[in-house]
């Protein structure tokens, strides 16, 4: 028997981590611009979705760690440059950092859309199962199906112990990860890995031809409508009722959405586009620094220092505050407001800030004034 080569699996799981992460900044931007008191429903939905995307990203890290890989989070290519194009076999669309609006929700619907059942390609991928996946040739559903098949195949060929050779202490557990729908799953064998993937797919698209996300089945939680259908509720301003079919429009209670009550943020804000010396510029740069520091912390948390994830939560709140400040800074003279750019700052260019956690202070050898 040949030696086990996990490289394609590692690549695919790293792609999964990046894919799950890439949706978070657009969701966060929309969320930050929603007026909680006016558009409470939209605010709730967006919040619950991005929290579940954080869960998906963490689940993908747990799978990668379980098979002996190393998640790479703090690297220049980790954050896409927005607007970015997402291309899958069944659809291609642009994703940007834009305010809460109909176009934003249209994009979110594209992101979460249940994959087409492409019967003719079923089984086709089995031929080159051990290759890294080209995302634009697959639907998201197929992409995760390939990863599942890869895992099953490798366990068949080499045994569970050889495939799941990662250290248990690298797994993020409920001690570090909590809140939001679903639950973190510690991955240590094929069953838990497949369950983690099912959670990722079902929370987004809905479980096997329903509008529901599977949380009830997996976690004994209350029934919740999956991401695609929740965004559809905002878009169509009506909730789904029990028993609604995924192909039909929702038939439940009406939802009030006031599309014009929103912070009028510029599309795809960039720090460099704000005038030098302006409040917007300073805050945008601060946000970018913060986000990059945050990725560093996540990287370390997903590579052995699990407890740092709890500190990362504190930084998330900090980002929320800085984003709120940004959204109060004029971006230009036309009445638009600035917003969070989510741009990567290389490690060497990162500076000291009062909110930096001790661990980062030590690593970066900076001092807090």
């Amino acid at each position: 028997m040949s030696k086990i080569d996990k490289t394609p699996l590692f690549t695919n799981l790293q792609t999964a981590i990046e894919l799950e992460h890439s949706t978070i900044p657009p969701y966060l931007a929309a969320y930050f611009t929603i007026d909680q008191d006016t558009n409470t429903f939209a605010w709730d939905v967006t919040r619950s979705v991005f929290m579940e995307e954080m869960l998906h990203m963490t689940l993908a890290c747990n799978i990668l760690n379980a098979v002996g890989g190393q998640p790479s989070i703090d690297n220049p290519k980790f954050i896409p440059e927005y607007p970015t194009t997402m291309e899958f076999a069944d659809r291609k669309f642009e994703v940007g950092i834009i305010k809460f609006s109909r176009p934003a929700i249209e994009t979110f619907l594209e992101i979460e859309k249940p994959s087409e059942q492409r019967l003719h390609v079923m089984g086709e991928h089995m031929k080159n199962l051990m290759e890294p996946i080209k995302l634009d040739e697959k639907t998201i559903g197929e992409f995760y199906q390939v990863i599942k098949d890869q895992l099953i195949q490798m366990v068949d060929d080499y045994g569970e112990a050889a495939v799941f050779s990662g250290k248990q202490e690298l797994q993020i557990s409920p001690k570090e990860y909590y809140g939001g729908g679903g639950e973190i799953i510690e991955v240590h064998n094929l069953d838990t890995a497949l369950l983690a993937i099912d959670v990722i797919v079902d929370q987004g698209e809905g479980a096997s031809g329903t509008i529901y996300d599977g949380d009830e089945t997996y976690f004994d939680q209350d029934q919740e409508v999956a991401h695609f259908y929740r965004f559809n509720e905002i878009y169509l301003e009506q909730q789904y009722a029990k028993g609604d079919h995924p192909d039909d429009p929702p038939s439940g209670d009406k939802v009030t959405v006031q599309w014009d009550v929103v912070v009028d943020m510029v599309n795809n804000p960039k720090a460099a586009n704000f005038p030098e010396g302006s409040a917007a510029r300073a805050k945008a740069e601060e946000f970018n620094q913060l986000y990059s520091h945050f990725l560093r912390l996540l990287h370390r948390a997903f590579n052995g220092e699990c407890n740092l994830l709890v500190k990362a939560v504190g930084m998330m709140y900090q980002m929320k505050y800085v984003a709120a400040e940004l959204l109060n800074c004029p971006a230009d003279h036309k009445g638009k407001m600035a917003g969070p750019p989510f741009e990567y700052v290389p490690l060497a260019d990162r500076q000291q800030y009062g909110w930096l956690v001790e661990e980062l202070v030590e690593e970066l050898k900076v001092t807090i004034p």
Binding site: T40, D44, S48, M51, Y178, G179, G180, D220, Q221, E224
Partner: protein, 607 residues
């Protein structure tokens, strides 16, 4: 011939005790109705948001500020207690209580689904074993007809239901023991930076008082707020934290919103809506806008024959001068439970002409002596839950013969309670002409060093502190308003003197600066043995229908059943013959499990 009853059990009140009894009995298959005086209509998170909105927009952030006053079921407010003018304590004449003093009763409760757990802090201390035998041990106070060990299994049930976060090793003090291998459902809430610094600063110090010395042990407080589940809980089964009702993904961990009292925005802090929601899913009928007004009973047997209540109509848009409409109804059951708070339970029984002379007597609270000052360095005030630690060393000792014991609560929110910080400091700084960076620095320097201690003074049951009724004082539906007679004793004042001295010595030990100064015009101010003292209510209203061995000394027996009414059970703080220095909610939750078990046994026997 047996009469057909409407329900197996009717419970008055949808707070924590009513919810627990309802949920337990529904679990056993009994048909249960809860009558609730309050108005909250549903269990969506939307309706909870209305409470949040009230809180955010209310300028006075008192415990009931999120929960609107309801003329059909009014509730007391801490602001009903006014200042002292010409040596006389003033009260708001429109307040819900009619207070005769001489001391002000400064505690409140909430009349709505979920009851006062909507605004509690979440402290979940067990009582000390000695608290159950105070009369025997110290010759003061009253004994319980049960002891700590009887209650132990029920404490565990209560800790599960509430979801208590604590580490067992730290809680086994002053005689408290736990079953072998027991752990709390969740690990302890992290102690605040202030707690950690106080631990460090007081490490070598001792408090000396009247020839005795006591350690300054800073101990984390068990809390009914979500933390990390303990994987060892329930023999390795673990525990699932319960999030917000109607939004279960929210609040599965404490987020440090620092608003526990009066309202946790994410419901990481337990409230009884969580238990009610479970109960309703099991078939319990919850009927709101229904104020119980009279317990009907058979004069010969004492047996309850029904509960009369007023189902009132919505009153929004009611023209001035028009009365709120209501319909009087009667509901019957095999067993009845009054779970509508110590004061309301007593009031209802008095209104029904119950004969037991102990009803309404023995009203207790924990008078809280507040002290405050500045730490020697910034300690990050105003972060996290209101309190994460306490100092238990003065909760027990032979000194209880001579003065009240107290628990010291360490407050994380600066001088918020005594001084209304940080708004007060802001206004002062603005008045002093500060602005910009200067304003910010001045505030930070002061506010970030602030901390306060609350000394929860044990109060003993006496017949002079009581709830009564008088037909001259009624609410809009014609139900009685409670009349309160209340005072504090020298025994308690002696405890306060010790507390004040403790504070003085602690500030000296840590090198801080005491800023405690009591305003003689504020309600709760007294002078005793030449010392000024100032105390507030803790919201721990208890003892109005205490538990004991016979009808001579008590209202209910150890099973929580009325001595004179065999099919009537009382639950809640009213049953407590003493509270010791523990916040009472955990104990009454435990007693509610006990009561539910006894009611279930009754109903089984009937079949």
């Amino acid at each position: 011939m047996s009469k057909k009853h409407d329900y197996d059990v009717v419970i008055v009140g949808a707070g924590i005790t009513g919810a627990i009894v309802a949920n337990e009995l529904a679990e056993k298959g009994h048909k249960v109705l809860i009558l609730e005086a309050g108005r909250q209509k549903n269990f969506s998170f939307e309706s909870y948001r209305e409470y949040l909105h009230h809180y955010y927009t209310n300028t006075i952030k008192i415990p009931n500020s999120p929960y609107p006053q309801n003329p059909a079921a009014p509730q007391p407010l801490v602001t009903d207690v006014g200042n002292i003018e010409d040596g006389i304590q003033q009260f708001d004449p429109d307040g819900y209580f009619k207070q005769y003093g001489p001391a002000p009763f400064q505690s409140s409760y909430t009349r709505a689904n979920g009851g006062t757990t909507l605004h509690w802090l979440g402290t979940c201390l067990r009582m000390l074993p000695s608290d159950f035998r105070e009369k025997d041990l110290f010759g003061t106070g009253k004994n319980w007809p049960i002891n700590y060990y009887d209650l132990m299994p029920y404490y565990q049930m209560a800790e599960r239901e509430i979801g208590v976060s604590a580490d067992v090793e730290e809680q086994a003090f002053l005689g408290i023991t736990f079953e072998e291998g027991y752990v709390y459902p969740m690990t302890k809430i992290p102690q605040s930076y202030l707690d950690q610094k106080l631990t460090e600063w007081t490490k070598d110090g001792v408090f000396e008082y009247e020839g005795e010395s006591f350690d300054y042990d800073v101990v984390s407080t068990p809390q009914g707020r979500n933390s990390n589940p303990n994987p060892q809980y329930n023999n390795g089964e673990g525990y699932q934290p319960v999030g917000a009702v109607g939004n279960p993904d929210l609040g599965t961990r404490c987020e440090g919103n620092s608003a526990c009292v009066p309202i946790c925005p994410v419901q990481a802090k337990y409230n009884a809506l969580k238990t009610l929601y479970k109960a309703i899913k099991k078939g319990v009928v919850l009927q709101e806008q229904s104020v119980a007004s009279e317990i009907l009973y058979d004069d010969k047997t004492g047996k309850i024959t029904g509960i009369k209540y007023k189902a009132y109509k919505d009153f929004e848009g009611l023209k001035a001068g028009r009365k709120i409409g209501y319909e009087e109804k009667v509901v019957t059951a095999k067993r009845y439970v009054l779970a509508t708070h110590a004061v309301e339970n007593a009031k209802l029984m008095l209104a029904s002409g119950f004969k037991n002379k102990n009803i309404g007597q023995n009203l207790m609270d924990h008078p809280v002596l507040l002290t405050w000052g500045l730490a020697p360095e910034r300690i990050g005030a105003f972060r996290g839950p209101g309190s994460t630690s306490g100092i238990p060393s003065l909760r027990d000792g032979t000194f209880r013969q001579d003065r009240s014991a107290f628990r010291i609560e360490i407050g994380n929110w600066g001088w918020n309670w005594p001084k209304g910080s940080p708004v007060t400091e802001l206004n002062d700084a603005l008045a002093a002409g500060k602005f910009g960076k200067g304003l910010r620095n001045a505030l930070l320097d002061q506010v970030q060093k602030e901390f306060r201690m609350g000394f929860l003074i044990e109060q003993q049951a006496t017949d002079r502190n009581c709830v009564t009724i008088d037909e001259r004082y009624t609410d809009e539906l014609g139900n009685y308003r409670p009349i309160i007679n209340y005072n504090i004793t020298d025994h308690e004042k002696e405890g306060m003197l010790a507390a004040k001295e403790f504070s003085k010595q602690l500030f000296e030990t840590i090198g801080g600066e005491s800023k405690t100064a009591y305003d003689p015009s504020r309600g709760g101010y007294i002078e005793y043995k030449g010392e000024s003292l100032w105390w507030q209510g803790a919201g721990h209203l208890a003892g109005t229908h205490i538990m004991g061995t016979d009808a001579e000394n008590s209202v209910v027996d150890k099973d929580q059943r009325c001595h004179e009414h065999e099919n009537l059970f009382l639950v809640g703080c009213g049953n407590m013959p003493s509270m010791g220095t523990s916040n009472p909610t955990l104990t009454i939750a435990a007693l509610s499990f006990w009561a539910a078990e006894n009611i279930d046994n009754d109903l089984k026997d009937l079949k």
